[in-house]
């Protein structure tokens, strides 16, 4: 909801409300006037809406209808105020000596607030911050009215009861100042809010721009430079794709992995980058990282590295299944394969890095390979803590 800037009589509250509700503005104003007659409820409601509903930023063109409605509205407002004062007098409880000064103070406040709206409008229109001569005159006049109202109220009360005059006058002054500065506070709060929102937006955009620049643009430049090497292009494209995906889905790169699936994904990524091969990984289930799992991941990495180095193919598939009582990892390639019996004694990769590591943590290794048939390393590690969920 926004307060209207054209076709307004006091502050555009009624017309804004009418736009919001889709009701004829006449009826909205009539309701305000009617409520004003009920010991001023309408006036209070109007003032509250004035304070809390922001002014519209666009000015609609003025129409003839607006001018006709303006006369109607002035009539309604006068009627409402008249009835309010009249009922106040009849009620008798609030004598003219009290309602009179308060009414004067309220009119002063209305003048000041309206001027604040005007100032805001000018600011939107010309970008000028200065209030202009008439603005100052109006503000001063409004302030004077409020002060006069407050003073009259004090004088009136002083004659009725001269008890704690000081406290009363201090209180009245404070209220007067508060009423006068309401537009200022509201504008401050609103401007702060708008500014903060704008800043967050620009920061977000800057971050995205920076990220795309650091990653995607750099990679594209690299790809252009290395376009004669398809292997290298592929590697760059894959690692960039991976990085972009994890960024889009909110996973931080380089973050310490907390779960098995993330750790496996990271390990596969490292091997991909290091050896320029594709590692397609499928992980079923997930669990927290525990002791044996680090050994399992290291062993799987070694198996992937072996495949990358010796199999002579561009793709390795990794499948990990996490079950309540154990974790199994399969690392497989469709490359050369080998005869396990003919591996020279001095090659440690499989024996030390994989078998030894798994044995120490209570795991098992199985190997399926034959020359020409590819290689599959099956790693199995029992879980120490049972899954809770």
């Amino acid at each position: 909801m926004r307060r209207r800037r054209t076709g307004r009589v006091v502050a555009g509250v009624a017309s804004g409300l009418a736009d919001h509700l889709g009701a004829p503005v006449f009826w909205v104003r009539a309701v305000f006037a009617g409520l004003a007659a009920l010991s001023g409820v309408g006036i209070v409601a109007y003032a509250l809406l004035w304070m809390f509903v922001p002014q519209s930023t666009v000015a609609e063109p003025e129409t003839d209808k607006d001018r006709k409605e303006w006369q109607q509205a002035v009539g309604l407002a006068a009627l409402g105020l008249g009835v309010a004062v009249f009922t106040g007098l009849i009620g008798g409880a609030a004598s003219g000596w009290i309602t009179g000064p308060i009414a004067v103070a309220l009119v002063g406040a209305a003048v000041v607030w309206r001027e604040a709206d005007e100032a805001q409008r000018r600011r939107w229109k010309d970008g000028a911050l200065g209030q202009g001569k008439t603005g100052i005159v109006r503000t001063v006049a409004g302030g004077a009215l409020v002060l006069a109202g407050v003073a009259a109220f004090l004088v009136a009360n002083d004659s009725v009861q001269n008890l704690s005059t000081v406290v009363l006058s201090v209180l009245a002054t404070l209220i007067g100042v508060a009423v006068l500065t309401v537009p200022l506070w509201m504008r401050l709060v609103r401007d702060l809010d708008a500014e903060r929102r704008a800043r967050i937006r620009t920061e977000e955009r800057a971050e995205i721009a920076a990220h795309l620049h650091d990653s995607v643009l750099q990679t594209l430049a690299l790809i252009q430079k290395q376009s004669e090497s398809p292997r290298e292009v592929k590697r760059l494209a894959r690692s960039q794709e991976r990085e972009l995906r994890s960024w889009l889905y909110g996973r931080e790169v380089g973050e310490q992995p907390a779960t098995m699936s993330v750790a496996i994904a990271q390990t596969c990524a490292e091997v991909e980058d290091q050896f320029a091969i594709a590692v397609s990984q499928v992980v079923v289930g997930d669990c927290e990282l525990e002791d044996g799992m680090f050994a399992l991941i290291q062993a799987s990495k070694e198996a992937m590295v072996n495949a990358a180095k010796h199999a002579g193919v561009g793709e390795v598939s990794v499948y990990a299944e996490i079950e309540p009582d154990k974790v199994t990892v399969f690392v497989r390639d469709r490359g050369k394969g080998f005869d396990p019996d003919t591996v020279p004694e001095d090659r440690h990769g499989l024996a030390g890095s994989i078998r030894g590591r798994m044995d120490r943590h209570g795991g098992q290794v199985r190997l399926r390979t034959a020359p020409g048939e590819g290689t599959e390393v099956q790693l199995e590690m029992p879980r120490k803590t049972e899954a809770r969920t």
């Binding site: 995906r245 889905y249 699936s261 397609s280 499928v282 992980v283 079923v284 289930g285 598939s317 499948y319 299944e321 309540p324 399969f330 497989r332 599959e376 899954a387 969920t389």
Partner: protein, 216 residues
């Protein structure tokens, strides 16, 4: 007779690439039409009546699943193969549940794609390792899971599970057959029944799991 294929993807460049590749490398498949959006796809498929539709999962206006919903009841004899760059489990499971006969990623080689198209046109289901992983995950028995309402549909048999595991490990049907000492035909039967279960299972885990999990 060649398999008549219809392409649905919102990226024109990707469609052109697939079309060129398929036309070049084989006579087994023939691209009869293409569409770049849901409405266009529904009209085009109804008009051309292709054997297989290569369907992108991610599109504006509801994506592949929406195309499936609108076509499946009207022309049930058309088979769908989902082809996607998406890694998100819920996207994939959704189009499979809507009735696609298989799912392959866009990084698939053209030869593999042709094989997959021919296979689904013959009524077989095509699971990439990744899809096998998703389905295994969705049907996993977790302690504390909801009670199973229809064990016939909501559980995988041990054999089906074995087959899926080998699929997820990147095995071809032939290799699975020799590994499990069964015929390739039997492997196909198992895969088809897993697909049927994925599509029909009312296991509430399946949808909940898929939405819980943003990615795998």
């Amino acid at each position: 007779m060649s398999v008549r294929v219809f392409l649905v993807d919102d990226h024109a460049l990707f469609r052109a690439g697939v079309r060129a590749e398929l036309d070049n490398i084989t006579d087994e498949v023939e691209v009869v039409g293409e569409a770049g959006g849901v409405g266009e796809a529904v009209a085009g498929i109804a008009h051309h009546k292709p054997d297989v539709v290569l369907l992108d999962v991610h599109m504006p206006d509801g994506g592949g699943a929406e195309v499936l919903r609108q076509i499946r009841t009207k022309i049930p004899e058309v088979t769908f193969l989902a082809l996607s760059v998406s890694d998100a489990a819920e996207d994939v499971i959704n189009v499979i549940r809507a009735g696609a006969r298989g799912y392959v990623t866009k990084t698939i080689s053209s030869q593999e794609l042709v094989k997959a198209v021919v296979r689904v046109s013959e009524g077989d289901a095509v699971f990439s390792p990744r899809l096998a992983g998703f389905v295994l995950d969705a049907f996993a028995d977790r302690p504390g899971a909801a009670p199973i309402s229809d064990p016939e549909l909501d559980l995988l048999t041990p054999r089906e599970r074995d087959v899926l595991r080998l699929l997820a490990r990147g095995y071809a049907y032939k290799e699975i057959a020799s590994e499990l000492f069964i015929s390739v035909k039997t492997v196909e039967t198992h895969v088809s029944s897993v697909l049927r279960k994925t599509q029909l299972s009312n296991r509430y885990e399946l949808s909940r799991w898929a939405t819980d999990r943003r990615l795998v």
